[in-house]
Symmetry: C2
Subunit: 910 residues, 2 copies
């Protein structure tokens, strides 16, 4: 072994550094780095992750032979630094053993504390700290941890109780006590000996008394755990190479539970909620780190300022505060000063907000860990922009610091944090459209409209939604559905409107007749208040106040930076002038998908639409279409005007026709009367139009091919609208998209109709506008033959929702039935409707791009599926050479930032 296997860290010498994560793991590297910065870290050693691969191939004996000398030297180093000897019964050095890979990874071996202890050494430990109970408690905890984690004494099955806890429970029951702390020294002694007997009995080998044997067991246990099933599955799901391996850190123990001059806590260098640049944090006296995390005792604030703010919120008087919950700044001013110094060093050094774990052992501060602090979306933006301002980081770094998805939190209303604390969760569904909303339950779309008109706040609750529910959805504060996935109809519409929606909440049962919704035994009636958190999918009982998140100047600054870096353009999906304007405000440079079908549900239009569908022949269809024409033209005029000078991609009618017809008996009878037709005629036509699988039915350009007059009407409305607005000085940029193209012949036939109409309209008005005709690539077939289609189509827009459906072979309306269990079982590593499945759908898109460009090098390539707003997908789209993405208006800022990050990642080598 020529290469070093063991790296020590301590005040006297530190072999590692922050840039050695690959060998030392994240934790080991940071511990070494802190030592180099002169920060008080309990000394220790880290065994390199490279040894892990040797273990996997050759086993424990070879590894031990290989590294024994270095480990012994390392332990000697710790002993020297710490002034205690490992295995010295009189005053034992205790250590912790931890695993650590270069990326944080669950599933690996848990931490072992207090290693090095045995019965012989207990008096020594007790003497060293003057506390015999502490010594025995440390010992029994060590046996339990080691027995479970290293020796593998597990419950026989998931349903069985933990055998150690069984012993504890039995002793408590016999003593008639409830808490661990009520057990006396004898109980703890007995517990330790029963633990050891349990291990010997079940595993047929004795618990090791020899500290060295304990140590080697723990080291090999860490290496072994790298290849347990859970860790392997996690690595597979996250594409982490098996070869990386895990390091092992062995560190001297310090104790925060040695009385009033000891304690443990967590500090952060800035405010994690607002991002404001104020040091803050919490600590507990006479406690270990795990006690802070467990949340049984309420911790105290580190700073005086923080403590006073807490008192204000908790309505505690200054006297009481000072008496009962003083800050560390008041209690331990010296420790506080040291912490302040440390946080400044660490933040300046790492150039990011730090989360710092510390322990105070009998008046001495020890830093146990530091890492980048988790923060809210708002804090993310503020910290990045302020650090840029403070000259700590450069522009690109600042931009990369913000996770694009987290901007959502800034764009949608959120629940009032305090109000949420006491709220009761009813159930959980899919977080289909973010934001928070609160309102009264209504079960029918038309009634939702009525209630909303009377100024009620309404939550529309439906089994599932259909396009007919559009106006009810628009009127509601939020939508909750029992069926449907993240891209169900309700979800897509809600996201487009920036409206909160939870879909696929499968445990709720809706009884429309009784006007109730029930979850288990609980029944909620029409008019009852509920609250939805569309970002988490949680449904709450009752009314919870919400607040709008304002867009800060920091946000604008961030967007300005993104704008300068991104290469991928960002457009929006918008069907109305209002949406178009909102999208433009959010920075969209065009409309990438304007669906025309929603337009047919408004007001009287549905009637004309139904007449068109029910017409017996072409003449009848023409008559009804003539009535729809002026309405469509108005729509397009509004949208062209809103997008003056920016491109608008209009998708021709796409959904199967029966979506426009009433499906139930009563509505069909009403319609018969309204249209002076017999009920039987209407029923027959609806039956005729019924489809077994409408998603794969008579839709998209298949409609335009069988009924060219529909395409003609739509093309005419588009071109006339463009010419009309042009006359008013507006610049319309028209792109007409043919949906569900499968073969080049389909596209051709529709393009010919569109171009013919254009010539007619231009001739009649003596005016022309530029326009393009392109294909929506949303069936696998169209991607596979994109070279043929590209010869005729001036642009492609990848409809990734349908492309995902067809590639996987599931419908987004039905996927709710198995998506959650699938994600849990690791069948999919992500929801393929949220983030593009690069391996399959991505492969088809890449083919489409290459084939399209091979025949038409300047072909315009866009993406108009839901994935257009997903950062990971945007990174992929950037990489394969897509020109623009289109997403719902509320995701435009997210997409812009993601596009900029993708562009930077493309040029920067880390």
């Amino acid at each position: 072994m020529s290469k070093k296997a063991v790296y020590v860290f301590g005040p006297a010498r530190t072999d590692g550094a922050a840039n050695m994560k690959n060998s030392l793991g994240g934790k080991g590297a940071n511990l070494a780095e802190m030592c180099r910065l002169g920060i008080p870290v309990p000394p220790g050693l880290t065994i390199s992750a490279e040894i892990c691969a040797i273990y996997a191939r050759h086993g424990a004996n070879v590894v031990r032979k290989l590294i024994e000398e270095e480990v012994l030297a390392g332990i000697a180093f710790i002993e020297n630094e710490f002034g205690k000897k490992f295995g010295n019964a009189a005053d034992p050095l205790l250590v912790s053993v931890r695993s650590g890979s270069r990326v944080s990874m669950p599933g690996m071996m848990d931490t072992i504390l207090n290693l090095g202890l045995n019965e012989e050494a207990i008096p020594g430990l007790a003497a060293a700290f003057g506390n015999e109970r502490f010594a025995w408690d440390s010992y029994r905890r060590f046996i339990q941890m080691y027995g479970d984690v290293v020796m593998g004494l597990k419950p026989a099955s998931k349903e069985d109780p933990d055998p150690f806890e069984e012993i504890i429970d039995r002793i408590k029951t016999e003593k008639g006590v409830r808490l661990d702390t009520q057990l006396d020294l004898g109980d703890l002694r007995r517990m330790a000996s029963e633990f050891k007997a349990l291990i010997a009995g079940r595993l047929d080998r004795a618990f090791p008394d020899d500290p060295w044997e304990q140590l080697w067991g723990a080291i090999m246990g860490v290496f072994e755990s790298w290849n347990n099933e859970r860790a392997k599955l996690y690595r597979k799901m996250h594409h982490i190479p098996d070869a990386w391996g895990t390091a092992v850190s062995v560190q001297s123990m310090v104790f925060g539970n040695l009385g009033g001059k000891s304690g443990s806590g967590v500090a952060v260098t800035r405010d994690t909620v607002s991002g404001e640049d104020i040091f803050n944090g919490e600590f507990l006296l006479d406690a270990q780190g795990e006690d802070v995390v467990a949340g049984i005792r309420t911790p105290q604030q580190i700073t005086l300022e923080g403590s006073r703010r807490w008192a204000r919120l908790a309505q505690v008087s200054e006297e009481d505060r000072r008496a009962q919950r003083p800050s560390m700044e008041e209690l331990m001013p010296e420790i506080h000063r040291q912490l302040l110094e440390t946080e400044t060093i660490l933040e300046n050094h790492y150039r990011d907000m730090q989360n710092i774990e510390f322990t105070i052992q009998e008046g001495r501060l020890w830093i146990l860990q530091t890492h980048s602090a988790k923060r809210t979306g708002a804090a993310m933006v503020r910290v990045a922009m302020e650090m840029l301002e403070q000259g700590m980081i450069d522009e690109k770094t600042a931009m990369l610091r913000v996770t694009p998805d987290r901007l959502d939190e800034l764009l949608h209303p959120v629940f009032d944090h305090a109000a949420l604390a006491n709220a009761r969760v009813i159930t959980r569904g899919l977080p289909a459209s973010p934001g928070a909303s609160t309102g009264q339950i209504v079960f029918f779309p038309d009634e939702a409209e009525q209630w909303a008109r009377s100024e009620f706040d309404v939550i529309l609750v439906r089994r599932e939604t259909s396009p007919e529910d559009l106006r009810g959805i628009a009127a509601a504060r939020g939508i909750l559905t029992a069926h449907g996935g993240m891209t169900s109809h309700a979800a897509v519409m809600a996201r487009g409107m920036g409206k909160c929606c939870i879909s696929g909440a499968g445990t709720i049962h809706i009884d429309p007749k009784a006007r109730t919704m029930s979850v288990g035994d609980r029944v909620y009636k029409e008019g009852d208040w509920i609250s939805l958190d569309g970002s988490s999918g949680l449904v709450y009982e009752g009314k919870i106040s919400t607040r709008n998140a304002d867009l800060s100047p920091d946000f604008d600054k961030l967007m300005g930076i993104a704008e300068r870096y991104k290469k991928l353009a960002v457009r929006a999906n918008a069907d109305t002038p209002e949406d178009a304007r909102m999208a433009r405000n959010f920075g969209a440079v065009g409309i990438g998908l304007c669906r025309t079908e929603h337009m047919f549900f408004e007001g009287d239009r549905i009637k004309a639409m139904r007449e068109m569908i029910l017409a017996k022949d072409e003449t009848g269809r023409h008559r009804a279409l003539a009535r729809l024409l002026p309405m469509q033209r108005d729509d397009f005029e509004g949208i062209f005007t809103a997008m003056d000078g920016l491109p608008v991609t209009i998708c021709l009618l796409d959904p199967p026709l029966h979506e426009f017809l009433p499906q139930d008996d009563v509505s069909q009878r009403e319609m018969a009367i309204e249209m002076s037709l017999s009920y039987e005629d209407i029923k027959r036509r609806v039956d005729e139009l019924h489809e077994a699988n409408p998603m794969m039915g008579h839709r998209g350009c298949r409609l335009g091919i069988t009924y060219p007059e529909i395409t003609e009407m739509q093309a005419r409305a588009i071109f006339e609208a463009a010419i009309n607005v042009k006359a008013c000085g507006i610049v319309p940029k028209v792109e007409i998209m043919v949906p569900m193209v499968g073969t080049v012949r389909e596209f051709d036939s529709q393009a010919r109709v569109i171009r013919g109409v254009a010539e007619l309209v231009f001739a009649r008005h003596g005016s022309t506008v530029d326009y393009m005709v392109g294909a929506m690539i949303e069936t696998p077939r169209s991607a596979l033959v994109a070279d043929n289609i590209g010869r005729q189509a001036e642009f492609f827009s990848f409809g990734t929702n349908d492309l995902t459906q067809m590639t996987f072979g599931f419908s987004r309306d039905d996927v709710g039935k198995f998506l959650l269990p699938y994600l849990k079982a690791g069948m999919y590593t992500q929801d393929p409707f949220q983030s593009i499945d690069q391996e399959s759908v991505g492969q088809l898109i890449r083919m489409g791009v290459e084939k399209g460009r091979s025949v038409r090098p300047d072909i315009r390539l866009g993406v108009c599926g839901e994935h257009g707003g997903d950062p990971a997908s945007i990174e992929f789209f950037h990489r394969v050479g897509i020109d623009y993405v289109s997403c719902s208006p509320f995701r435009v800022p997210i997409a812009r930032l993601a596009a900029a990050q993708a562009a930077v990642a493309d040029t920067v080598v880390e």
Copy 2:
């Protein structure tokens, strides 16, 4: 021009030959070949198809300059041979002008007859044949043909009448006559002059009087027609290169309509229905070829034997026959002898059954055309095997002579030919499953069963079918559905059973309550007789008798030859021991797809299945599955026994669970009583299981993953059955297939369950069987990531039905709504559910094959979709390296022959 442009043919000299089809077109080459054989063909010339490309690039003037000299020389040759001069008014040589490409191709220019005639020459023509009316009639026909075809005088729109026919009608009305033959000389004269006036008026140019101008116009017209829209579309659809071009044949006219010593007819060298080696044919006295085709007069037989047979069938006495409809053999023994000589020469020369067109002009026989005769499937087999026997052709040629699809005619019942003649067609649907059947209409599956039990012949008529209809389908003689495509549920089941089925007959309206089916105004009640031709899709009124087609020794011989050549193995799709036995009889070497879902509909099983689905928890499901286990095991024992020694691929449960539940109110209430559950419970569960797009829903391995106990039960039934039959000396070869695989993780999870069960069963029984676990590749995703899946799966079977659905993005249940108009409009060149779409689905299969083999070189690759029985698809599968196809038992012989042909085509260079 160094190369020859014009090729003459005639007794004195013939430049061309049969092997020059590329230059001379099929017709020109055969005319030349016949001349070389000394057969009396009216002399003529052929302009090479290579000139067509020059015409397309450079136009008429260049072409004329290029070929004028050769054409003049060619016409001089004809004049010399025929003894008449072109343009000689005293005795004009008239010619026909025809187009001709190397493959027969509709859409090109029609034939022009009588070219070279003008008013000046009419007296000469009249004198030459002593018939003035004939001369004028020839002239007015020529003007009409030339004006329409060459000069392009067409009706203004589809709805307008033909302007020439309008003139004819007007003259007839004025004369008060009904038939053309009632018009006199003056009328014909007037007609000719009005035709010319019409042309001059509408086209603004005069009808050419000059024969040479006529000739050049016709030649250029042929070249021009190569690029008309219809021809271009046809070429695109049939992948015919534009560069091939068309030849032009100019041939001297002969006339069969010059009295009782003239005539026209068609002869065939063998019987086109039975294939028997007897010369036969029909002719009409005093008639032109077109009169024979038109079918207004009933023709007479050529041979005495044929004539006598006709008389027997028509119940005409020998005296009457001889008097009224004597054979050519009796009437014109010398012509008959010449014909007999000619047919022998031609068949021996071409080594195939010939269809020969001839004209007798005033006692002299002229042969106008010969080509391979169209024939029935039975004739195809018999002719090929007898010619092989007779030493005329070799084995490979004999095998290639039989179109595999036509074997269908030998395998299924057919209508009695005579009975069909008078049958009234009600409507036409998709020819979903071949064969003929006749029976009484029944609208409900259970009633179909009851009627059938009482020995009624039943046709089951349904809007669409569901798996629940299985027993009704099995009981019926045939199935007719209003919805669904060629691979709808009904169609697939019917084909599997070899039962006639017509699907997607969209014009029929079914009223189940009234128990009627109507087409337009006609109403058919329950119990009315109808007849279905599943090979053509025609639905007939009334009862039409059918007969079974027997399998001849020739058929067995053909199959024996195929067996020796084919490389692709042929398995069958079969779900029952009966089907398995039938498949084995037809030569299947295994079962490539045994679907288990059909098994759950039989008898009481559906009850247990429903209990399983309705179970509230795993325990309930286990209980119901335990009841299903022995039944499944029995099924598999039967199938393994039937297939002793041959592989059986069993596909795990695939369809969405709600297919097993009753969907209507009444059945749900019945079920509630039967199962002692509340109606509400059942309704709720059915609602919960409802899917918007079941084809893309919770099905396939997604079921097995969410309910592993189903997979466990099925695996256990399979392995226990295999071990049981093994104990009886049977050799089970087990292949378990996981359906609807999308990701390797899905496959893994199911494979692990299966292999776990295998170990348990083997251990319990102390016996093992070999087995494989493989994946059904039926989603685009699985083909795209076949390398990942192939690492785990021991075989792939491409489920091409679903793969086609997902790739195109349409469901086979709904495709009926637009498939027919789509095929008509050329959107698809073929039904992609019948023949694999090589461009897209084929591309995915090729990827799947390559990726699969790249990680597992010996991976077994099969195809189990409907395409496994389609010859064109089989050719493709052979080419991409598939190991076996699996198809319905009745298509096994077809697939075997197609596989052999593909193998021969692969090695033979023509």
